[in-house]
């Protein structure tokens, strides 16, 4: 009978006594309770994103952790469905599903790679610690299959964010980077070839590059690696994400060849509405991408939030105004491209530059990629279908270089922090010369992307082939590769 259960009041003091007994038994095996001062210092460290010390070690800070979980979701949102719609709207309707499939497929594939060894190879450090030659390119094996990646923070990267959350956050970057490449090769590459390409590209280009720039033992991690040989800085992925995907996209689209009917047949976007919806989603999601790269809900994140907003909005305004002046009307594609361009260029700079820098970046983002997309493509006649090179490569390259001129410790004290002081970054930021280190990192990024993509693309071309058959391409990839139609009226 589930009626009232009588709880004898005499039971309560008995339970209290039992509890006291058990804690005193347990206390013999646990460390001494922190003092009031230590506890207060740890709480202060939570608010200021500092080292908690022993008092709150192994505990994620609720605010920072919550913020980073939201950012993780925001960056995934950028791929699914942000990028999917942005690119999806720009292709012909017979190929819209192929774009969605590529984004979805890459999300699943990269997740598996990341879990198995990707995260460990990027953010581990066992190779350096053991002196292995692999340590030049990869992190380590300590986190294979996400072993040990749990709720406690990995203080090499963040004091107050669960290691698991950090790993998932970074995974979203790993997902969207190869997804950007599909823009250049849209409407003609086989799905199987894309999955094969992405697998090899992640292993040989993204994982090493991300490790070198963001890994705690990375040779190009100027802010956090006291032993970095290239004292470069990249807040959220100018080199790692945009340059790598953009330059690889160019090489891949050249090796792949142009679409049938390129420059002869009409290949206009089938839905500028979808493209714009995707753009809005990308912009909002980018707050997770840029502001979240502070890995804390702190002042640096706040700065990145502001610079991201300003650069995107200024870019979104300048590009269509340029169109209005040169071609007669501001187009929706112009607004969308300008916004995305602004977001791309501010990516490496967001947590390092101030608001004036962001305005300048917005203006540059609305002009230089505009000419890359409208003039360069026409002169050199490469079929970068959705302008991945024009926006991401050109924008990312420009952003990485401009960061070298505009970065200031006033915005981000880590630029003159303990590690930066040891490896010389602090001096470069204060007295100038950072731009040259940026150039080194940029050069290595382009070299890795170009050489790696040439090798991988030709390997796949020689084995399973890159292109869909001509009649498959004519009919549209959706029906032949995925057995579905995007729109059935």
């Amino acid at each position: 009978m589930l009626s009232k259960i009588h709880f004898p009041r005499s039971l309560l003091p008995m339970l209290g006594g039992l509890a006291a007994l058990s804690t005193s038994v347990l206390a013999a095996d646990t460390p001494a309770t922190p003092s009031t001062e230590e506890s207060l210092a740890a709480l202060k460290a939570y608010i200021t994103n500092g080292d908690p010390g022993a008092a709150l070690a192994g505990v994620a800070g609720p605010g920072h952790n919550a913020w980073m979980m939201v950012c993780t979701a925001l960056v995934l949102f950028m791929t699914l469905p942000g990028l999917a719609l942005f690119y999806g709207g720009l292709v012909r309707s017979k190929n819209v599903l192929s774009v969605l499939a590529q984004c979805l497929g890459i999300a699943g594939l990269v997740t598996l790679l990341w879990w198995a060894f990707g995260y460990s190879f990027v953010f581990g450090k066992s190779f350096s610690e053991s002196g292995s030659f692999l340590g030049h390119f990869f992190g380590g094996t300590e986190f294979l299959f996400l072993k040990g990646v749990g709720a406690a923070p990995n203080t090499d990267y963040a004091f107050w964010v669960s290691h698991s959350v950090f790993a998932m956050y970074q995974m979203m970057f790993a997902i969207i980077t190869p997804a950007l490449i599909v823009g250049a090769i849209a409407e003609r590459m086989k799905f199987s070839a894309i999955l094969a390409f992405v697998t090899l590209w992640m292993i040989f280009i993204y994982f090493p590059l991300a490790h070198m720039v963001w890994g705690v033992t990375g040779s190009m991690n100027g802010v956090w690696n006291a032993a970095a040989s290239v004292r470069a800085i990249d807040f959220a992925g100018g080199t790692v994400v945009h340059m790598s995907s953009g330059w690889s996209a160019l090489i891949l689209c050249l090796i792949l060849g142009p679409r049938i009917g390129f420059m002869k047949e009409k290949m206009a976007p089938h839905s500028m509405v979808l493209c714009m919806v995707g753009t809005g989603i990308l912009w909002v999601g980018w707050y997770g991408f840029n502001a979240g790269s502070a890995l804390a809900a702190d002042g640096v994140a706040a700065n990145a939030f502001m610079t991201t907003t300003i650069a995107a909005a200024v870019g979104a305004f300048v590009w269509p105004m340029l169109e209005w002046m040169t071609r007669g009307h501001p187009s929706i594609l112009g607004f969308c491209s300008g916004a995305v361009g602004g977001l791309v260029v501010i990516t490496p700079a967001a947590g390092f530059v101030g608001v004036s820098g962001a305005v300048l970046i917005g203006v540059l983002a609305g002009t230089v990629p505009y000419f890359a997309c409208t003039k360069l493509k026409g002169w050199l006649k490469y079929d970068d279908a959705l302008d991945t090179f024009g926006v991401h490569a050109v924008g990312g390259t420009m952003g990485a270089l401009v960061t070298g001129f505009l970065a200031t410790a006033d915005v981000n004290a880590n630029l003159t922090g303990v590690y930066a002081a040891k490896n010389g970054l602090a001096g470069l930021v204060t007295h100038g010369g950072l731009w040259f280190e940026q150039l080194k990192a940029m050069g290595l990024t382009v070299a890795m992307s170009v050489i790696g993509t040439i090798a991988i693309a030709y390997l796949i071309k020689a084995t399973i082939g890159l292109r869909a058959a001509p009649d498959v391409e004519r009919q549209g990839l959706d029906l032949s590769e995925h057995g579905e139609e995007g729109y059935i009226y």
Partner: protein, 112 residues
């Protein structure tokens, strides 16, 4: 019996439909089509790609009428569909051999 095929500007459809109803035409079939005559198309620019679009959206009406009504129907269409600018469209008149009402299996003019 005659079949009137009229190609008109899309925004004129309601006006033409009402004008035809006024002269006694009770049914029609309408299709959305693309076409051009002497009216030029337009240019669309998407970033670095420029496309000339020759085909313009039009609406095609197909109306079956008796010989007596065909003249009035054509006049009604002309008055309602005209804007005076290039691209107003055309009307084609063709002889109609047979008309059948499916529901009742009636043939000939009674089926119109």
């Amino acid at each position: 019996m005659k079949l009137i095929t009229a190609i008109i500007k899309p925004f004129k459809l309601e006006e033409v439909k009402d004008a035809l109803a006024a002269v006694g035409v009770e049914g029609m079939t309408v299709t959305e089509v693309k076409g051009f005559g002497r009216q030029k198309g337009h240019t669309e620019i998407y970033r670095g790609s420029e496309y000339t679009v020759d085909f313009l959206p039009k609406v095609k009406l197909e109306i079956a009428v008796t010989d007596e009504l065909s003249g009035k129907a054509i006049d009604a269409i002309v008055v309602a569909a005209k804007t005076g600018k290039i691209g107003d469209g055309k009307i084609f008149l063709t002889p109609l051999e047979e008309v059948v009402r499916i529901r009742t299996d009636e043939h000939g003019e009674v089926a119109i």
